[in-house]
Amino acid sequence: MTAKADSSPSGAAPGARSLHRFANPGRFLRASARVQVWLWMAAALVLGAGLVWGLLLSPADWQQGETVRIMYVHVPMAWLAMGGYTALAAASIMSLIWRHPLADLFARELSPVGALVTALCLATGSLWGRPMWGTWWVWDARLTSVLVLFFLWLGHAALTRAFEDQERGARVGAILALVGIVNIPIVKFSVDWWNTLHQPASVTRLDAPGMHVDILYPLLTCALGFSLLFGAVVLARTRAAVMERRIRALQLARARREEAMGA
């Protein structure tokens, strides 16, 4: 690491130097440009294969029939909603302790995507619940805690954008994200701790998955595909945000120069 590792135009906080190599926005842009192409291609390939496998080729369930195919979208969305939130919390810790400008941008660009996948999880779950359970919605612990998760995503997206000073918005958003992390174990374990209408976990349990492999493997493929797509979208948004910030800094510098020359 050289001493001049931080080429961030906005001039990061003094602590942001030399800690994480890829937190340097310039290096991040160069490295992610290469990664991004592969990420999009892998996402298209894996998700395409997973969706064809899950929606067309996999067997129906013995009692749910074809309705079970909603799972191939619903479950990956639920995993991404929780996994994405954990990433948001990790970025928030980096933002609060090490004052990483890149972690701020990442968190800010992550939350709208997180809100979207959580909304899709709730919508597909509702569509699935109506024919199977006999209701669109109940206030059981699992469904309610996922709704809270959705509001946390929305709140973070709104809060980080609500301040004139972006850095302050990022700080307040990070605090909200970290307070909200208590909800993640509640979402995960709600089905074990309390009686719920929602069934317990099928895949992540101590003994064998309660799912036949012909249903499990397409599900895992879809989950990987959606995760790659999620990663690609968030990466593209973060890149755009970094570039936007550079442009703003350059414009600011030019305006200052012109002002100085005019004076």
């Binding site: 749910q64 208590v182 069934q199 099928s202 349990r205 003994d207 799912m211 036949h212 499990l216």
Partner: protein
């Protein structure tokens, strides 16, 4: 470095406080967070009269009687069990597709003086197993599983079973 360390410790402390506060709150509200109560819960602590609550459990094998009410609506009488205790349930209305003997159900209604639970709403509760129809048929034919009796055998016994024939 000290400032970073201090921020780290403050964050850890806040996390500890927040975590314990949440754990305490959830423990305190334990009774209100359950979506339904099992027959054993109700035997242990009788629900207040004339208060609606949710009763959940499995539909006992051989207990389902379907009929038609005086107003032409379908009716169903069945027993809900959790293995230890049983409660009789009567319901007038259309049952969800997944409803069958051995299936989990959650019913909303009130206890009648005669000890029958009159349900206003019946929801089917799906378990966490996903099985292709051929595999389920093979298990039933081999006598390993009768769905009316309850949960399927441990997944390790069937989740890699070949899927052939119908």
């Amino acid at each position: 470095m000290t400032r970073k360390k201090r921020r780290l410790y403050i964050l850890l402390l806040c996390g500890l406080g927040l975590g314990s506060a949440t754990a305490l709150t959830l423990t305190a509200f334990q009774d209100n967070l359950v979506f339904f109560r099992s027959p054993s819960d109700i035997m242990r602590e009788a629900p207040p009269a004339n208060r609606a609550f949710r009763l959940g459990g499995l539909v006992e094998a051989g207990s389902l009687e379907r009929g038609t009410g005086a107003d032409g609506k379908p009716t169903a009488n069945f027993r809900v069990t959790d293995g230890a205790h049983v409660i009789r349930v009567s319901y007038a209305g259309v049952l969800p597709d997944l409803f069958r003997e051995g299936q989990g159900v959650v019913t909303l209604g009130m206890m009648q003086p005669d000890g029958v639970f009159r349900a206003k709403e019946v929801l089917a509760r799906h378990d966490e197993t996903y099985m292709p129809p051929e595999v389920a048929d093979a298990l039933k034919r081999a006598g390993h599983w009768n769905p009316a009796e309850g949960a399927p055998p441990p997944p390790a016994e069937w989740n890699t079973a070949p899927r052939r024939g119908g």
